[in-house]
Amino acid sequence: MRIGVFVCHCGSNIAGTVDVERVAREALKLPGVVFSDTNKYTCSAPGQESVCSAIKENALDRVVIASCSPRMHEATFRKMIAEKTDLNPYMLEIANIREQCSWVHKDREQGTRKACDLVAMAVAKVSCDRELFTTNLPVERRALVIGGGIAGIQAALDIADAGFPVTLVERESSIGGKMVMLDKTFPTMDCSACICTPKMSEAAENPNIEIKSLTEVESVSGYIGSFDVTLREKAKYVDYDVCTGCGLCETKCPTKKIPSEFNQGLSTRTAIYKPFPQAVPSKPTIDAEHCKKLQSGKCGVCEKVCPTGAIRYDDVDRVTTQRYGAIVVASGYELIDWTGLYGEYGAGRYPDVITGLQFERIVNASGPTEGHILRPSDRTEPKTTVIVKCVGSRDPNKGVSYCSRACCMYAAKHAHQYLDKVPDGTCYVFYMDVRCAGKGYDEFYMRTLQDGAIYVRGRVSKIYPEGDGLVCMGEDTLSGEIVRVKADMVVLETAMVPSRGSDVLASKLNVQRGPEGFFTEAHPKLRPVETNTAGVYLAGVAQGPKDIPDTVAQAGAVASKVIGLFARGQIESNPMLSKVDVSRCSGCRACVDVCPYGALGLVQANLRENSRKVTRTVCQVNEGLCQGCGACSVACRSGALDLLGFSDEGIMQEVEMLCQ
């Protein structure tokens, strides 16, 4: 063993408090150390040059660099060794004598002594280091996007535009998500459908995008570059290859009184239906739950009227498995069900207490009221409207503790739209705070105030009917007075919550969710669109509440990550992984239970033991999934599992050296 120790001055950063020359001299006394040197700035080009030439001249086979934190320059020095010497880059240990020594200890003697210890520990560890090699895992250049809202559509388009095939999976019968239900978008007041539906058709027409509606993810296995995903496409009862989307069936279907999901229950639809005219795929499906033919066998009108014979009452779910290199989670959100939480708002008993999304449909020209603002109960124009913000949001007692972020702006938008369409109307907005951080947002809010919206700071504590209207009671916390407003209609701006089934999806993908249920990004600042499972990315509200611009930006970011991965075509594996010594493994499964990545499995292995062939169940590490945390190596009682790079021997030797 020929270990070289290089002690860095880091200018005066280290040398100011640590006698680096003494550290280098002391290092020479350590077992295996044949060379030591100091350097002004080891990470600089001349510093690296001197380390590399010392490695060559002294035929060093292991290197310790005593410098700043390994979190700072370990990668730099590994790269240096890999590129400029014949050494394996993993035959390197860093002794952190800057952040954890010279910067925190003033006493030169104590600092020097500690630096000597830290170098000795690194020497002990480097003595146990083994050559490690990265392997290149191929990447299947095909992406799966889960969720066909604007986030999923945008991500799919961006990836597809780069030339890679994408499967866009949507659980509903049309893509478009929530955005396509909106009337206008703040602050520019673009028509939401006008900007969303072209994206939808663009996705439908893109040859690289395959849209699978009424489809859910059944199971996922594998790892980055090579996920095997099983999808379940629910029976549609319509053969899309034959159907032309003429819509005749919809007009003839006798079951017409089903509340329209798209219109938030404010209108009805038929049993064979397209959720809205611009739906993509632009073809109907049969709602089996309400279809007379499927429920009782009597009817069959659609089959009779269909000019192309596309109706298939015997249609079944289709389960397919496909390999993907990357998965984008854009599963979006839904609005909190306020009716179960806010009894004081009538718990849904008053028809004129509606949600923001219902208001969007009412105000929309293609909505149930053709854009006239008419309240649901009697279809009259409300002269006084109250908008209540933070229904569910920022209310840990009843709803969720977080801020849903977009509501301040769409409350302002709703007030603006109302006052625009009902010029003699009065609009009150009850609020806790007005948060309008965003380009042009505060200006929009100010315009709404100029429009005449009356902002009252306070929560509405009760809504009760009086005459043909509703009274909203609450405290104006600025004046301290109790306010009672007689309203004709109340709009509740409800909280965004993770879409249903997020928990199941999270466990299938092995990604984490925060306490509020949104998917957790790998790092809140620096890896905002990645998850802790490599190859799985987050876009849109699935990761946390946000508005459309942020969602689209995030979708673009995700696409760039996926495109980057696909462009490389392969990924270099982290070689510091768990390694199993099958001769010691009992196949007890303790490791499998603790692995957070599902990287360990039990396999039947044919082994040669004591010159005999045996078949036993042993543990196997999936190198694509293992992230090198080492939890398994502790769960393994017999020591069959070890973590390369942080081996038991290396750790024990460090301990022993310290105790020397």
Binding site: S583, R584, C585, S586, G587, C588, R589, A590, D593, V594, L602, T617, A635, R637, S638, G639, A640, D648, E649, M652, Q653, V655, E656
Partner: protein, 285 residues
């Protein structure tokens, strides 16, 4: 234990062997001295009369199933402790439940072959009746579930120095013979960490540090999986009160993470130290 239990077990063993239900039958036979018993594995129906099952059968026999793996179904007398040991072996995937055929018997405790006093392990027993079996011979017995943490209470009430002294003396008596491990149904690793020649793993110098390292680590490795059969303590040639380490962990785990099970097959999920809850008690913040 009923008087004719031996005969009943012999009859069942003979039937099971004759019918081919099992390929062997594990029980006890008399040893050289009166009241001395030794485990026996019977392979032929002609030899079942060697079997004796009475209040002197002090060894736990379940672990002998491991050496018969792959040879067909293994018959076995199963008291509470054997049945729990089988569950442990199943949970640790060392045998499958179908590989063993358990002839259950209710047990009222074993006696010391040299003096006739009840064995300590039996006085602390929580499961006298088998928790799983394929057939029962005789009636189930009453489950007194005696308090088993008296020793733990006593030691916990001591000062650290006294405790250190107690365990220093205890571990200094350890012969490093590994009998505790070799009889323990939870110690079913193919290869034990103590047998690994690794730097810093386990010294062979028979010193106090080595025996403490062995004693504490073995206890920890089995801490969440101990079925409390007390076999380690019975087997220890130095008579060390090893169960005190197990009972300590059993009670801690029970208090910290919910009802202690140990057999590994409860509905509560995997063993306590290979699972977690995000709302676990927090004491390290």
């Amino acid at each position: 234990m009923t008087a004719n239990l031996t005969q009943q077990i012999r009859d069942r063993a003979r039937d099971l062997l004759q019918s081919g239900t099992v390929s062997c039958f594990i029980a006890w036979e008399p040893a050289r001295f009166e009241h001395w018993r030794t485990p026996v594995t019977i392979e032929s129906p002609d030899e079942v009369d060697r079997i004796v099952v009475d209040e002197w059968c002090d060894q736990l026999i379940a672990k002998y199933a491991l050496q018969r793996r792959g040879d067909g179904r293994i018959g076995m007398v199963a008291r509470g402790c054997e049945s729990r040991a089988v569950e442990r072996l199943v949970a640790d995937r060392q045998v499958s439940r179908q590989d063993v055929y358990l002839v259950g018997v209710g047990c009222t405790g074993m006696l010391d072959r040299d003096g006739g006093a009840p064995l300590k392990k039996c006085e602390e027993c929580q499961r006298r009746n088998p928790v799983t079996y394929d057939e029962m011979v005789g009636e189930t017995v009453e489950e007194p579930r005696p308090y088993r943490f008296g020793e733990v209470d006593r030691i916990e009430s001591m000062e650290p120095e006294q405790r250190r002294a107690f365990f220093d003396r205890m571990f200094s008596q350890c012969a490093m013979c590994f009998a505790c491990r070799n009889v323990c149904p939870a110690c079913n690793c193919r290869s034990c960490f103590a047998d690994a020649e690794r730097v810093g793993w386990l010294e062979k110098d028979f010193g106090l540090d080595a025996s403490r390292y062995w004693g504490l680590m073995r206890a920890f490795h089995t801490g969440d999986r101990c079925i409390e059969c007390g076999e380690c303590e019975r087997a220890c040639p130095m008579g060390l009160p090893l169960m005190t380490l197990m009972h300590k962990q059993v009670r801690d785990i029970d208090r910290l993470f919910g009802p202690y099970e140990g057999g590994g097959l409860s509905d509560a999920g995997p063993d306590p130290l290979r699972s977690y809850r995000t709302d676990d008690v927090e004491e390290f913040m």
